[in-house]
Symmetry: D2
Subunit: 356 residues, 4 copies
């Protein structure tokens, strides 16, 4: 249940306000050189308190590797990474012990398990995604051996939309705090989020992810199609409401003659003229760019009073407290990349056994 | 790879033009009364040749149960169902042995496996979904024990869009050949598909699925969130390009104060005033309607000449042959329902072990 | 539950007296040349009615491949094999509908599922192993690519014991009906079984299996040790009561200085002087012969009256009917080989992903 | 690969001389009261340095729970337990960097992975079993809810054999340092081990495990038979060479009429007169005592010079160093119990979903 992947597999654990969160990566091939600074780099991209448009909560998110790496290389043994929780302020949450916050997981956890760690959302907290990001940083190092590059960025906040990725320089994503590589759009997004924050409200958005230099042949034919697994991986991230790849929902309005990607020969390589397929045909990568959109709802915690009920069914007022993000998408960028990396690393291993 | 589900698990097999396709259902609880006519009923909804807007290919799709059912009840042993292939006309496909049809899986299968059964798409054919529909008909009988109802319908063809589901009478879905329960919209959809067919072209669309009477507590917290698993299941269906649930992509434009679903008490039940959450919070069902959209691209096979390449990289012209659907969504409706039923049956079993 | 293996995976289905039994092999690498006559050859070795010391029940055990093989080669798609049931004589079993035969699975199935297909043991019948043998014949063809050879034989019947395998010519196993490659011992075994049969009784025995030319590096370090998986595979065969490999139970009486296998260099290869390890160290093959013993209890069905109870708890007499084996081990030889082949094929694939 | 179990699932990590070892338990039902002192109790039973007949190495084996338990109860979230490594003395092992110790995993790990953490055996060290024991202590608390009791003891050291378990008082197992509940035999065992230790040698033995008050219906019919899973679990423990349950290898010498367990009614319960079946019929528990034997080879590390080769194939002499057990079976008792508890907890959960 808390494990993801078939061959390159992660198991995460930990609650928002417990002693620590962490991840065990099982199935990382032996002999991989691990650069630990890249793990910290990715954790820093995700961590709270980075800028005025993210939560002001400070978390160091320093990690410790407990196993699986020896003299700088993976040994084939499971890699356990632990991140201790700090700045927990559990007191902030005691008032929520019996209350179900709107559009949070409080009620469903209580109903399912009969018990819940209510402190900061417990296991349902997005803090769990730090473990994914740490594991994703290892997966990215697997992908680097194959020159595969993953670049996510914020393509929409509210209704502020950036141009399509083919018109963008994705190396500029980290140049601004909203992580949109189109400077003019980024500015508008930041203004919008800032305004929303002042309104004590939150706003949703879209993260777009582009994967370049994908090998041909990743993905499995039927249930474990490459895009199906990417879809599940993205939808498993907190606050995600939708996933589309290639031409996506808009593509359904096209005709087959408009939508089909004709094959052409380019040197020795078979390419497609267009890429409505989003780099995936029949569930298997064809070597073109893989690109997809991930929809994030507005953060559920708002600095306003809301009506709700408590465990006993009494009407109560939930008042927003604590320090929360007005918009989750800037910090979601490294999480989307991490999940994409985990999916691809898994399929890379699976592809090794497709032929005798 | 060809298995779906954790506890209620299906394994499908078979190629479009081999002797048979089929499915093994493993993990169906013992003692379930099985009505075999419901399996045939679902297969009939999916089968080709139903109307002027679907392919004219005739397939009987009669099935045979080989195991797992004794005196009308499941025994706990695996249920194997086989559907023999008929009307195969393999000759239709011999010209495609060396050619890669645009936006089909021909190229990626060849690249991945170095060998492919090119007849009718082989394993990549949507014929495989008949096995899913047969298995889904068993899953639906599991759900019936819990009064859970699944209703999918065509909500958009091209840009012809039906009103939202809350304004529809879902019992009318089967009243017309396009499977849209809104008669006026259905008529427009049929006209559009008919026009597209005359143009020797194809068109995409959207299937919406609504699940009512869901228990509270289905779905798992982290990776196997209810909507993540539904997303994967839908994205694994041939031609699907996107998935969104609840407020979906549009919901990302809202603010938290607009989007949050406040809890209220209704009799003894905790409900939400609105349902942007789509019946799922923190990956777990909250008892409200679960609803989601599935985007289908236009069918890749068109009755027109297209440019492509063959195995050796020579430029070739692919001419549309055979009998194909101008629009896949009407026949996709029972497939979407089947996959939803399989996901829910699996989570129903998983929910049985969530507490001591 | 009815699936075995991680990467080379089989799912079996079918009851003794249903329409058919079968298996779906998922994960067989593409491009494997499949010789179908080898499948029939293995099924013939397992089938009833081969000689005077096996059951006189006649079953043809002819199989049909439904998918996954195209023009003589595996395609990477699942391979489904079906064997229809014949000579079912279900009437033979109607008297057992309410009775629990001693040391059979009747009672435990009834208690677990509340329903059981009582005809011939239903799912618990050793007939299920025919599906394993068919799948094992495919696995053997995978192993042949690596020159790995599996040879099982009968090493003991009752207390008639053959010399150790290192003193035997394993190519002679099929030379006699009891499948013991030591002619003098084979004669004694046959005499013993014949005597037991005349007594309307049954007798147990041991099958020894030897695997030669194993690659170094098969098996996984912790839970999925090579011998642990072989043990599970063997113990999952009907009537098996024990498993030991290498020095086994007797080896526990030795001291470390007697038991340790010292390493030596032989040409370019690292070998061990002795092989108490049975070819496995730390759960991973070291290239020496893998050998193990599998203990089979006496067949539970005897041609004698036995006391038992029925569903209501009434005392009843069970009278042996039908046609059964006086000793199961000769027919178990191909089953042991099949399961060993499945385990090794799985580990061969797993070994492909152990390094970057 | 480092995960065991289907529904009650553990993933272990850690090397002998890394920062820590640990385990993540996933699938523990919510609401289980956890007594943490029982975890320490089991760890203490396993830890080195307990008596003169075990290694004199001192390890504290104190554990820390990182997640999954809130206010004394399991929450349904994964339970992570970490045990830091102390007293590591890595210097002890530097001389083994290039040397393959006889009957250790050094050579096979090196051959499989191309890299190994040679310090104290790294991942292949029996230290990994501490993580299993910690997890098993949680599993035992699940079983306690069903009154299931697991008792293992040392039944043989070398050729010193205790009487059968039915003649023993299993509550006396902890009364002596060798963990044999038969005092006279225990004394002989201790003398033997002490003698072996003085000879700078080691000796093997057998652990017997008895499970009482098992529910009827645990275990799955085909591959995941209760005894097959127990067999795999036991064979996955370091140094185990064999597994037999019920009548085991000796039972193969019996006839069916001697071996069959006739059913009788005892009050309202269906029982068997004898228990050659070892509490398992057709892979499913029948409510009688489950009992089985686990064979442990002599510890490979001996305080004597042995011939071996190094990485380059040069002949070398391996001299025994460090502090090691002359006989592993006394400390193996809690490990056998832990693995048995993990298997049963898993099957208890699986049994919950066997019927509609």
């Amino acid at each position: 249940m808390n494990t993801y992947g078939k061959l390159f597999r992660i198991t995460t654990f930990g609650e928002s306000h417990g002693p620590a969160i962490g991840v065990v990566i099982d199935g990382c091939p032996a002999g991989l050189e691990i650069d630990e600074t890249l793990i910290q780099h990715e954790l820093n991209r995700r961590k709270p308190g980075q800028s005025k448009i993210t939560t002001q909560r400070k978390e160091d998110d320093t990690f410790k590797i407990l196993s699986g790496i020896f003299e700088g290389k993976s040994t084939g043994a499971p890699i356990a990474i632990v991140i201790e929780n700090q700045d927990q302020r559990s007191k902030d949450y005691r008032h929520l012990e019996n209350t179900f916050r709107p559009s949070h997981a409080d009620y469903t956890y209580e109903a399912k398990y009969g018990i819940r760690d209510y402190r900061g959302g417990g296991r349902s907290s997005a803090r769990e995604t730090a473990a994914r990001v740490a594991a994703g940083a290892i997966a990215k190092q697997v992908l680097k051996n194959y020159s595969i590059e993953i670049n996510a960025y914020v393509s929409r906040v509210g209704d502020v939309q950036s141009p399509p990725y083919t018109q963008l320089d994705l190396s500029k994503t980290e140049d601004n705090i909203v992580r949109c590589p189109h400077p003019a759009t980024a500015e508008k997004m930041i203004d919008l989020i800032d305004q929303i924050r002042l309104n004590r409200d939150t706003i949703g958005g879209v993260v777009t992810c582009v994967i370049k230099n994908t090998l041909v042949g990743l993905g499995e034919p039927v249930f474990d199609k490459l895009h199906a697994e990417l879809g599940k991986a993205m939808l498993s991230i907190n606050a995600v409401k939708g996933f589309e790849y290639g031409s996506g929902f808009e593509g359904t309005k096209l005709t087959g003659s408009q939508h089909n990607d004709e094959f052409v020969k380019e040197g020795k390589t078979i390419r497609t003229k267009t890429n409505h397929s989003g780099g995936v045909q029949g569930g298997i990568s064809n070597g073109e760019d893989i690109y997809f959109n991930v929809a994030f709802k507005p953060v559920a915690t708002i600095m306003q009073d809301q009506q709700s009920v408590d465990k006993e069914g009494n009407e109560v007022t939930v008042s927003g407290k604590g320090r929360h993000d007005p918009c989750v998408v800037p910090r979601a960028v490294p999480i989307v990349e991490a999940m994409a990396a985990l999916v691809l690393a898994d399929f890379l291993l699976r592809a090794k056994i497709s032929r005798i």
